[in-house]
Symmetry: C2
DNA sequence: GGTTATTCGGACATTAAGATCCGATTAACC
DNA sequence: GGTTAATCGGATCTTAATGTCCGAATAACC
């Protein structure tokens, strides 16, 4: 469900959260610490900087910093930039139902899409760092979980 | 999370469930009805036949049939064949923790893997065909859902 | 102002998944 | 037994994601 790229983004942000002295971190050191491909991580970081999630400074002592309070971030905030799952033209069951009056299976897929986004949006980034930090842990019906795992698009 | 191939497998089995007269269905007709690439679907069906989920008969009036009662099948039964997500050598947070004494983040990932499999295993295939057919719909903690979406391996 | 450490971003390479092609085999039907 | 309709499975092509390389820009420090 998460692309490798999205996973790198998540790792990078979590890394910066754990660093949390004010220093910028160079892409190369971050990559070495995380054990991920340095040049590719650089690209991912660059993209995150352009999207406003990180700030970057060039030159000596440069690198990347979090642009905002990580306590405010959701998983979706981090990962959304890298996950394009928009179109839903085709019906899972193969009926040629058109977008204006979709069949029931079709409608469910659209729902799933929303469910997934919703869940990622409502999950605080920091909750991934430990079981202690999960505020308001809502229960989700079992079958919806499966639905959210099914690739949309 | 589901590969496209896994999705094809799911579509194919659901298609056969909905057919449900005793006739075998040719890969080509199934592909046409579902709107998926015929030659590729043929390969997927072939693999399912070899794994024992479908039976295949060659020649005229040949094609594919379900090998067993679909009511007994879980989503995992259908999809598991196509989803290899085994190794977990590396720790998400980059600490070089070894497999014998993994760090807490590492341990969580192992959990996630199990959670995902468990969920797919406990979801009846037929529950995907409509909201009516979901027996014993257990509730799952929200954060576990997110964990299960994070790509394992 | 020169040197050094870094990001920036475009061009290119690699890889795995997805998809296609086709000849060989097999079963039904005449 | 020949024809037809299907699976079988190996070889190959395509595409998108991932990953590498490198020159240019830029900021800190001497």
């Amino acid at each position: 469900m998460l692309s490798r790229t999205g996973l790198y983004a998540l790792q990078a942000v979590l890394y910066l959260v754990r660093q949390s002295n004010g220093d910028a971190v160079a892409a190369a050191t971050m990559a070495a610490d995380l054990g991920v491909p340095p040049n590719y991580l650089a690209k991912v970081l660059n993209r995150m900087a352009r999207s406003g999630m990180l700030t970057s400074t060039r030159g000596a002592h440069g690198g990347f910093r979090l642009a905002s309070d990580p306590g405010e971030l959701s998983v979706e905030d981090v990962v959304g930039e890298f996950e394009e799952l928009l179109p839903l033209e085709k019906c899972l069951l193969g009926g040629g139902c058109d977008p204006t009056s979709p069949c029931s299976a079709h409608r469910r897929r659209v729902e799933w899409h929303g469910v997934r986004r919703d869940i990622l949006r409502h999950t605080p980034l920091l909750s991934l760092l430990g079981p202690q930090a999960v505020p308001e842990d809502r229960e989700v019906p079992h079958h919806r979980l499966v639905e959210s795992m099914i690739k949309v698009s």
